[in-house]
């Protein structure tokens, strides 16, 4: 499980930062430009999946383990839900956008109340959960097949 060739690894190492940055941009500017939490989260997950594919399976525990991703998943949906509940307590309606935006701050980054907060929550959630799904599916595919020497070595490593 040493991953792909040196060329692929190097290119992925250069690209991963840009992909991650683009994903974060899509999430943060979701209320101004096309995009939002879901699409940005998918791009963020793609950055990690790219590293995972290029460097091989063992890198997963080093950079970003499955458990951390699961916790981030929960944190994301809690942020979203907390925004909804705050709307209930401050405005009286579930998902009330209780921070009103003045007309002069339209089309600025800090505008439109709870929408950017919800976007960040969804972005965290979608990114982490897609990564978890990918890791689980990849891991299952590696564990299940017939026994060969490499896989046996690897299973012993895990124990």
């Amino acid at each position: 499980m040493t991953g792909m060739s040196l060329i692929v690894k190097t290119v992925c190492r250069w690209l991963k930062g840009f992909i991650l940055l683009f994903g974060v941009y899509i999430v943060l500017y979701g209320h101004l430009t096309p995009g939002g939490g879901f699409s940005g989260g998918v791009i963020i997950a793609c950055a990690f999946i790219l590293i995972f594919l290029a460097e091989g399976k063992l890198v997963e525990t080093k950079i970003f383990s499955k458990n951390v991703a699961g916790e981030l998943d929960s944190v994301g949906i809690l942020i979203f839900w907390a925004a909804a509940l705050t709307g209930l307590f401050c405005g009286g309606v579930y998902f009330k956008n209780f921070i009103t935006t003045a007309a002069e701050s339209h089309f600025k980054l800090f505008s439109s109340g709870i929408i950017p907060i919800c976007n960040i929550g969804i972005g965290l959630k979608v990114g982490a959960s897609l990564f978890v799904v990918f890791v689980i599916l990849a891991a299952v595919k590696i564990v299940v097949p017939k026994k060969s020497d490499n896989i046996n070595d690897h299973e012993e490593d895990e124990k």
Partner: protein, 191 residues
Amino acid sequence: MTLEYIVAALIILMIMGAVTALETDNLLSSIIALGAVGFLLAIAFLFLGAPDIAFTQIVVEILLLIILIRVTIHRDLKTTTAHRAMFGWTFAIVLIAFLTWFGLTVFEEFPAFGTAVMDRVADSASVTYIKEGLAKSGAGNLVTAVLLDFRAFDTLGEATVLFCAILGALAILRQKAHKHSKEKDQEADAA
């Protein structure tokens, strides 16, 4: 009123199918029962005037479910090589004809090409979104304004679906369970 009775009958059939899927011992019959539930839900969507969701329902609930289960669970699935019965062919042809008829009916109701769809009704929700979306939500992107302000509850449901899907995937596909079942298989083989 008849619509309510039809939907109620479909829901009763769906509950029966779900109970069958839970109670049966054979995995294949369980999948078939679950597919029947999905198919009945698709028919209910057709009657409720949502053919697009009905098509999605058929694709996801019946086809994808079977393919996913076939991929993830290697054991316990028997394949049959017998010829398809007459009933199967008739049912397939009737199903395709039925869906085609529904699709054509929908096409007839489409507005003519080039006409504005969003403001056909003067005080519809879409007109309100377009006119007052920026002022009410403050978001420059109207799609996000609808997704996270006017219809945020839908989005929460969507996120919850994703969350539950991840929970299910983690529960079914975690490595410990696989090792455990492997050991069980070995014990069964030894015994």
